[in-house]
């Protein structure tokens, strides 16, 4: 029998998530071994780069005008976050082909005569031949940025060999550089974020994440890209291991305009906006839907969220209640309001009569979590719980008696769903998942306001665990005061930043962090600094099966 209460659900959630994160049969407890058996550096994490991380890194290094037109491997969502799923992903063979062609194309553009002087940074003695000095300089500099740590001697040798052999075979220095760069772009050290733990000099026998791994974690959390020169320097000198050094970087990064990129990437993940990539609506039911509307809806939610939480640094809970947003001409037509601006995007505040309240009544949420041709209170309700309260809903049981739940030609969807609540096999989940969705039923599958269905007025009262509310505004009020919501954000920031699913052992830490979050006014940038400054953020988890190599292999050696 499925979990029947929130508490059981949470436990089931924890067990389920932990279960899925471990691919082998090793018991979970040994994954927590912090006392290492040896004193060699150990690789504690391998996570594939996401598409936006890949793109940002290339743009940082070679300029935003580099075209990347291949197809990225799809991401996978685990425990509500793509960031957690990336820990399970590798490269499929079709993916490998795509990345290979991407790497070649990028390398081509980098050595293009219009760009190569700036991008390569040095000239060979003879343009038709190999040149060790210039290729070494290029590979060292670029390699460090791509691998997010200095290259080892062996790596440098490997790639400079490719460069010189390539120069010989193609009769051009740049031809060799192109091959070496393509190789670096295909290397697992670039495509995967490989985190390394080293013996902690301050605590003999214990491990800490090495400086470069810390730099990566910070950079991907705050800016969604590889560490810049300043952050790498802080790792190199060890400043990143000190409280002051770390704080300096945290403040620098959260006050930079690049923080917007990081915040955007976080919310695309948490709010599951990747669903827009392939969203489809039935044109007969929703003729206004098209690609422009889809793109605009995603952008509206991101702009609104970033403006509220990052630019204005307001209380996170206002995400549910604030009607201040941004729209463009396409969205104005869907929302059926005039677009009173000559710019592409304009601020807009929904009036009370619109029944809109915060993020749950934006076209993005309403249309992503609905069917192609109709709304879906159950889907929306499930996502309210999953995304904002970190409570996923179990799959429906196989043995449901559907004979009791028949299609209705008339009346509203609500009536059919209320039938679910009478059905013993369905109650436990639907009682919890449906109410938020039922309150949103004045919005159809595209997010347009509609107050009647089949000629019958739609009742949007709802009852969730005893708490009653009506309509989207009522739901927003309920969510604003629901403590699970800020707690879930804290959990998500932690999981997103560390790449680990939080489990029971983290509960105390998360509770403390949540309390601090509340005390400081529920502000997101402060939360990120707060979590990234906590020792738990950088705590390495030593995997059970890590074998030390026969010869010592340093994690970040210079040649």
């Amino acid at each position: 029998m499925r979990a029947t209460s929130g508490l059981l659900c949470a436990i089931a959630l924890g067990a389920g998530l932990l279960g899925s994160a471990v691919l082998t049969a090793s018991p979970p407890s040994s994954a927590w071994a912090e006392k290492a058996a040896n004193t060699q550096p150990i690789k504690v994490g391998v996570r594939r780069l996401t598409e936006s991380q890949y793109r940002h890194t290339i743009a940082d290094l070679f300029g935003p005008d580099i075209q990347i037109n291949a197809r990225f491997e799809p991401d996978k969502r685990e425990g509500g976050l793509l960031a957690l799923g990336s820990a399970q992903l590798s490269l499929t063979s079709s993916g490998f082909e795509q990345y290979f062609s991407m790497a070649s194309s990028i390398a081509d553009q980098v050595v293009d005569p219009t760009r190569r002087d700036v991008a390569v940074g040095c000239k060979p003695a003879n343009a038709k031949k190999a040149d060790a000095a210039c290729s070494t300089a290029f590979i060292t500099r670029v390699g460090e940025r791509l691998f997010r740590r200095p290259l080892t001697g062996a790596e440098l040798k490997s790639f400079t060999n490719v460069a010189s052999m390539g120069a010989e075979r193609t009769g051009s220095f740049d031809g060799g550089i192109k091959l070496a760069l393509a190789g670096m772009l295909m290397a697992p050290e670039y495509l995967f974020r490989i985190e390394t733990a080293e013996p902690d000099p301050g605590k003999p026998g214990a491990y800490r994440l090495d400086g470069y791994s810390k730099a990566s974690r910070l950079s991907y959390l705050m800016w969604d890209t590889a560490p810049d020169m300043e952050l790498l320097a802080a790792a190199k000198t060890g400043a990143i291991h000190t409280e002051a050094g770390l704080r300096q970087q945290l403040v620098r990064m959260t006050t930079s305009p690049r923080f917007q990129d990081g915040a955007r990437a976080f919310f695309v993940d948490m709010l599951q906006l990747d669903g827009f990539d392939n969203m489809i609506k039935d044109p007969v039911a929703y003729p206004k839907f098209n690609q422009s509307v889809s793109d605009s809806a995603k952008e509206q939610t991101l702009r609104t969220t970033i403006d509220l939480l990052v630019n204005q640094k307001r209380d996170y809970r206002e995400l549910f209640t604030s009607n201040e947003t941004f729209i463009n001409r396409y969205l104005a037509a869907v929302y059926k309001v005039p677009f009173a601006s000559s710019e592409e995007w304009a601020r807009y505040t929904f009036p009370d009569s619109s029944e809109r309240a915060g993020i749950l009544t934006q076209v993005s949420f309403l249309s992503l979590f609905a069917h192609p041709g109709s709304s879906s209170p159950t889907r929306r309700g499930i996502k309210v719980h999953e995304i904002f309260m970190c409570e996923p809903t179990p799959d429906p049981p196989a043995d449901v008696d559907f004979s009791k739940v028949q299609a209705l030609a008339n009346g509203t969807v609500r009536v059919r769903l209320l039938d679910h609540m009478q059905n013993a096999g369905c109650t436990s989940c639907h009682r919890r998942s449906d109410p938020p969705g039922l309150a949103l039923e004045h919005f159809d599958g595209l997010g347009q306001l509609r107050k009647a269905e089949n000629g019958v007025p739609i009742d949007v009262t709802a009852d969730l665990g005893g708490k009653k509310f009506e309509g989207a505004v009522g739901l927003a009020g309920y969510l604003r005061d629901e403590p699970r919501i800020p707690a879930c954000l804290v959990r998500n920031v932690y999981s997103y930043g560390t790449g680990r699913t939080a489990d029971e052992r983290d509960e105390d830490y998360l509770t403390d962090q949540t309390a601090m979050f509340a005390k400081n006014g529920y502000r997101l940038p402060d939360l990120m600094i707060q979590i990234a400054s906590s020792p738990e953020f950088f705590k390495p988890i030593i995997p059970a099966g890590a074998r030390p190599s026969a010869t010592p292999v340093s994690s970040s050696a210079t040649p």
């Binding site: 609506k281 044109p283 007969v284 929703y286 003729p287 206004k288 839907f289 098209n290 422009s292 001409r329 396409y330 104005a332 037509a333 869907v334 059926k336 309001v337 005039p338 677009f339 009173a340 601006s341 000559s342």
Partner: protein
């Protein structure tokens, strides 16, 4: 024949005299035009070209062009050779330019239609037409499909059996071609209706404004136009129509005529309408459907067809353009200078369908509620009329690669032995 179009200045003069600035209205409905075509009532029960009460023989049939050329004085072999696709002077895109030269002494009949005798153009012989009663005379004119008498639509009588115009609503080839161009972003026309009363459906003090907009329409998932988009009024030196009206059970009816100009869905872009009126119904589903009618100058209509390449129009729409000229001239039923003057104008109605939309003031900051003229703010760009280059070139597109062009004395180079067995 000299022809005078009403200049922008005159129209705006009328605007200020007849329409003083009004106070804020109590209700406003605004729309974007998603379809506009001449109101040509189709009298058959099925099909697109079938015989009906309007044209008992059906849509006007194709001409035997060889015969037309022979009648114009060409030999049969010359006529056949000219029509033959193998003839290098016949352009697959622009047609056979020599077709222009059918007048007396091989004069260009497109630019000098009176150089050839009237070939005739079968017009409508039915009694039913859509449109408006422009001359206040219920005995003069057609009967509308709903029984109203006195409908003045001589344009329809004259050209209503012509293939390019005749079909059920939204199906004529002409309407399809021009509306496609409009709906693909060619131009946008918006309509704002506002009134001072409490009930939009029954209000004696209503104003209607038809304006241009630079904002393109957006198509929906089924290929139709999406409603509810926002359009800013574009102050236009020429395209603006303001009406005084009343509403009766949701029908917007002019209370007095205006002289206006709007963008036409045709080869002649300017549609000047004198004594113009509206009859537009606000539908239950929020759409607007009805007519704008008035007396339009007939010569620019003819000129527009010629400007679209005479040979092409004649071949594709099965018409002899001089016939169009003669028919329009013969049937023109209005003189702006009074009953004794030359009848330069012809009664006409345009069928319009519009979707609800948001229409904003030119600066885009608020919804337009006052029906006023914006011509004073128009940029000089908007005063530029359309290009008449093809008309100036004789209604044909000259072949840039050819050494000699079609003309009255052009040698035709009929191949030796080219006989009766030739093209058509």
């Amino acid at each position: 024949m000299k022809h005078q179009l009403i200049g922008a200045g005159f129209a705006s003069l009328i605007a200020t005299l007849v329409f003083p600035a009004t106070a804020a209205a109590d209700w406003t409905r605004s729309y974007v035009v998603e379809w506009n075509e001449p109101a040509m009532y189709y009298g058959a029960k099925s099909g697109v070209t079938d015989p009906g009460t309007d044209c008992p023989k059906g849509t006007n049939p194709e001409f035997d062009w060889v015969k037309v050329m022979v009648d114009a004085g060409y030999t049969k072999a010359e006529a056949q050779w000219l029509r033959d696709p193998m003839n290098p002077t016949r352009s697959p895109v622009h047609g056979q330019n020599q077709m222009a030269f059918r007048g007396k002494d091989k004069e260009n009949v497109y630019t000098h239609p009176e150089s050839v005798a009237d070939p005739g153009l079968t017009g409508v012989s039915g009694t039913i037409a859509e449109g408006l009663n422009l001359d206040d005379d219920t005995k003069n004119g057609f009967t509308s499909p709903t029984g109203e008498t006195g409908i003045d639509n001589t344009f329809y009588r004259t050209l209503g059996c012509w293939k390019t115009y005749r079909a059920p609503p939204r199906l004529s080839s002409g309407a399809l071609q021009f509306n496609d161009a409009m709906r693909d972003g060619g131009w946008t026309t918006v309509i704002v209706v506002s009134g001072k009363g409490n009930d939009p459906m029954n209000d004696s003090n209503v104003r209607v404004g038809v304006y241009a907009s630079a904002d393109k329409m957006v198509k929906d998932g089924n290929g139709g136009i999406s409603g509810d988009y926002t359009f800013r009024i574009l102050p236009h030196a020429r395209y603006e129509a303001l009406f005084d009206a009343k509403t009766v059970d949701g029908a917007i009816l002019s209370t007095k005529p205006s002289d206006v100009m709007i963008r036409d869905a045709g080869y002649t872009q300017e549609l000047e309408l004198l004594r113009a009126q509206v009859n537009l119904k606000m539908q239950d589903d929020g759409k607007l459907k009805g007519y704008i009618g008035g007396y339009r100058p007939w010569f620019p209509v003819y000129k527009g067809w010629v400007n679209a390449r005479g040979p092409v129009i004649e071949a594709l729409t099965w018409v002899q353009l001089p016939g169009v000229y003669y028919a329009l001239k013969r049937n023109a039923d209005f003189s702006p200078t009074g009953p004794a003057g030359e009848k330069t104008h012809i009664s006409y109605a345009m069928r319009i369908e519009a979707l609800p939309a948001f229409v904003m003031t030119p600066d885009g900051t608020k919804e337009a509620t006052d029906i006023v003229s914006f011509k004073a703010q128009a940029s000089p760009e908007t005063a530029k009329p359309q290009s008449w280059k093809v008309w100036e070139d004789g209604g044909v597109i000259p072949d840039k690669t050819a050494k000699i062009q079609a003309g009255p004395t052009t040698p035709l180079n009929v191949p030796a032995g080219y006989g009766a067995a030739g093209g058509q």
